[in-house]
Each structure stands twice: as C-alpha cells, then as structure tokens.
C-alpha cells in the first residue's frame, strides 16, 4: 500500500536547512522537514551557575526542547516545560553528547535551545538536526554531525520519516533514531508500538541508509553560510 503523500518508503519529506539565522546566538540553525520545523540556538560556553553543577574536567551540555504554543495541530500548548518536553530535552542531550567535545571548557556550560514553530510528527528528530547544525555553527569541536529521523512501521511496512497521520494510524510504530553517519553508531533510540525484532532491525537499517542523505543536507547548509561569506568578501575586495 502506498503512502498518503505518495512518497516511497525510504523517501524523506522536503528538507530546508539554514544556518546562522539567530544573530544573538553563538550558533544557530533552522531545519524543516515537510510541515515539521525546528529552530535551534547555541549559547556559550559560558559560566555555569549554580557552581556545584560545574565539572572541572569538561564543559557541560544542556538541551532545552520546547514547542511553541501555536505549533500543534490540536489545542494550544501551554508555554513552559511539561513532562514530555523535559524528557525530549533529556534524550536530545544524550543524542548530541557523544559527538561534542567540551573538554576545552572546564566549569562552563553550553546551552542548546530548541523551539518547534510547527509540528507534523518527528519534532524531536528535527530538533536534533537543527541542534547539530547550530553546535557546528557555534564552532564547537565535534566528531561527527549527528542526524536524526523517525522510522517505523505503517500498514506493516517499514518506512522513513512518518507524518502525523501515519504515526496516528492503526498499528503504526514510531521509532525515532539518531545516527552518527561516519560510524553508523546510534545515540538516540526510542520506539512505541508493537514490532518484531526483524522489522525493528530493518527499521534501524533504513534509518542508517537515509542518514547519509540527511547528513549531506546539514553539511550543505553549513557550507552555504561560509560560501556566502566568501562571496561577500570577494565582492568587497574588488571594490
């Protein structure tokens, strides 16, 4: 059975990725996949308060995920962190931590703020993609650019990048995953629904497969910012 928007099972929705869009932040990015979008801003390294949270060996990474009040298809979401947002903040932090090296910044903190202006499933994954670009844009040392996508089961078939309707359909399985494309390692893995081990491994493999394309999108966005700068620079030189 085909998908309602006509995509092949391994096709992602249309992607827009931009870097450096929030001037106040050290690093920032916007990531949009279909009708799901996320902003991310990185502030720091800056001093961490209260002091007992400081780590003299390395900087601390903190992530905050939040949905804008008008971003959901249903009712208005009350501002401020709820239990879901807190949990997503936590798993986002764990998804990003293995690639970010903050050992040059003992006792400091790097804050990553993720805001979702509009949602059509896969917001934590979009948030992680935006955050990964923002961290790179902030010039922090990273082993890889992590990418995240929801795979899962819709009508019994393994698919990538579920929409809200697909996720809400009968028997659907949602499996958000964060992958380090260079090594294929996995830093975020959650799942809800009922699935066999075989299908589950198939979904993870599909996630790995699409991660390379996704990573290329993020890398291009980062390059674009600096190519732009380069061009402006050249223009000024010739004046």
């Amino acid at each position: 059975m085909s998908r309602e928007d006509g995509r092949a099972n391994n096709h992602l929705r249309e992607i827009t990725a931009k870097v450096g869009i929030i001037k106040n932040a050290k690093g920032s990015a916007f990531f949009k996949i279909g009708k799901t979008a996320a902003y991310a801003a990185v502030y720091g390294p800056r001093e961490l308060h209260p002091k007992f949270l400081q780590n003299p060996k390395t900087g601390v990474l903190r992530c905050y995920y939040s949905m804008m009040p008008f971003s959901g298809v249903g009712e208005r979401i009350r501002p401020g962190p709820n239990r879901r947002a807190k949990e997503i903040s936590l798993v986002t932090e764990k998804a990003l931590l293995p690639v970010v090296d903050l050992s040059d910044y003992p006792n400091a903190v790097v804050d990553v703020f993720i805001e979702v202006p509009q949602a059509d499933a896969g917001t934590r994954c979009a948030g992680i993609c935006a955050a990964a670009m923002a961290l790179a844009d902030a010039g922090l040392r990273m082993k890889d650019i992590p990418v995240s996508i929801a795979c899962g089961l819709v009508n019994g078939e393994v698919v990538a990048d579920l929409t809200y309707n697909e996720e809400a359909s009968e028997g659907a399985v949602d499996l958000p995953i964060c992958i380090l494309p260079r090594t294929g390692e996995i830093t975020l893995l959650q799942m809800d629904g009922k699935i066999s081990k075989e299908k589950l491994m198939e979904a993870i493999e599909l996630g790995k497969k699409v991660s390379h394309d996704l990573a290329q999108n993020l890398r291009n966005a980062l390059l674009e910012k600096y190519i732009d700068l380069d061009n402006n620079h050249n223009k000024e030189d010739t004046k």
Partner: protein, 256 residues
C-alpha cells in the same frame, strides 16, 4: 556601560545613532503572513535583526458569567532563551509580563475585535482567542514589534471548523474571518538624555531614561498608554512624545 553603549551615548548627544538611523526612524520592517500551518492565524515580523512570530489559536470554552455573549482574549509574550542570552528558562519574567499586558491593552482597548463575534451560544459556548508571541532573535524592545505581529496575525485568522460543539482539528479550517474594526498601532517613544527615539536596539536600551508606549487608532485618538523607565517625564516631554508617536503611527499604518 560597555564601550558600544558609551560610544552610542556620545553619538546620540551629537544627534546620531550607531546604525546611522535618524532618531525617529524604524529599522527595516519585513512582514510575512500565515506561515505557521497549525495555527489559525500567524505572522512573522522583523525590525532589522529583531524577529518575532505571533500565532493565534481558537478554542471553545465557556464565557465569563458577567459577559455571557462575549468571547475571551488572551495574549502572552514568552521571552524565549533561544532568542537572547539575557533571557532565562523558567517562569515568565516581569519584563515579559509587561510586554504581554501592553500588547493586550493595545488590542483590547482599541476594541478592534467585536467580542460578540466570538459568541457561539450565549451563556454556554464562546471562542477563546489565544495569541502567543515568541521572539526568535530579540534585539531592542518587543512592545511595538509584538503588537504589530499580533495585529497581522489577527488579520489572517480563520475560524476552525466545529463538530458537535468542539473544534474539529482533522477538518480544514473554514474561510470565515472575524472583522477587525480598527487597526491599533503601538508606538513606543524612548527618552535618552534630552532626545526622543523610536525602535531602539539592545545597546540603546541600556541608555534609556524613560519610555512612553502610545497606542494610536485610525482617527488619531489614543487608546492606551504605558510609561516606563526610571526617570520622570515633564508635561513638555509627554507632549513631544505623543506628537512623535502620532506621526510614526500614521507612517506605520501606511506601510501595512
């Protein structure tokens, strides 16, 4: 005071601004409408580097006992830590509450919305209009930009479909809009030393002695005021600030 603010103070005393603008000049204004799919109405407004998104959500609720035939309006500005290093996560700061209240008064007191249009069934069911404003990049003050974004978001708001008295989120929204009877424009005038400025930047904000937020209606009458800042204003100051606000409101209105 940091060196930028010191230099800015010096420039202002010479009649100039750091970014080359005139005292009564807004930054470049960019307006985009209806970009947030799930919202019933939305707008993104930029004043230079300062950027906010306003989103409208309509829900069904019970009316207040003293206004059984009127809907309810709620406006909230949340200072996202994403948008500035000065904002922190946690409960709303007093500054964000002031912006929310001033924007609320701008819309409510202008009576631009006929609250009776929001009645579904008298005494039983009314529309609750929730407007949320979030900065993406905060630079300067958020009063004027938030009220403008709210107005534009309201202009493109469409009622969602109802099914058995509740909002049917699965259906497409209707084409019905509510009529905006008025376009209130909020202009905040800032006093720095002996000078009066509009649309300040984050660095200029540190220099402000006093401010006056003025909401101007189409017939040039004024429907809301808010004085802020630590320094007192004379009647002459207020006279000058009102004149400047009326002029700027006219100019902004023409660009809508």
């Amino acid at each position: 005071m940091n060196p930028v603010q010191q230099y800015s103070t010096k420039l202002i005393s010479e009649g100039r601004r750091l970014d080359g603008r005139k005292f009564d000049q807004y930054r470049d204004i960019v307006i985009e409408k209806g970009l947030v799919g799930p919202a019933d109405g939305s707008a993104r407004v930029r004043f230079g580097n300062c950027e906010v998104i306003a989103g409208v959500k309509l829900s069904v609720g019970t009316p207040f006992p003293d206004t059984p035939d009127k809907g309810a309006l709620m406006i909230e500005v949340e200072f996202l830590p994403l948008s500035s290093q000065e904002y922190e996560s946690g409960p709303p700061s007093i500054d964000s509450i002031e912006v929310s209240r001033v924007v609320d008064k701008c819309i409510r007191e202008s009576e631009c919305i006929n609250m009776k249009d929001l009645c579904i069934e008298e005494g039983e069911k009314v529309w609750i209009l929730s407007i949320d404003i979030v900065p993406i990049n905060s630079d300067g003050d958020l009063f004027d930009i938030s009220s403008l974004a709210t107005l534009i978001a309201l202009e493109n708001t469409r009622f969602p479909a109802l099914k058995n008295g509740v909002v049917d989120y699965k259906a497409e929204s209707t084409k019905n809009k509510f009529s905006l009877l008025q376009k209130p424009i909020l202009v905040t005038v800032y006093k720095i030393g002996n000078e009066f400025l509009v649309d300040i930047t984050a660095d200029e904000k540190k220099l402000v002695d006093a401010r006056l937020g003025v909401t101007v209606l189409e017939d040039e009458s004024i429907c809301a005021l808010q004085k802020g800042g630590d320094v007192a204003l004379s009647s002459e100051d207020i006279d000058k600030m009102l004149s400047l606000a009326l002029n700027k409101a006219k100019e902004l209105r023409e660009r809508l």
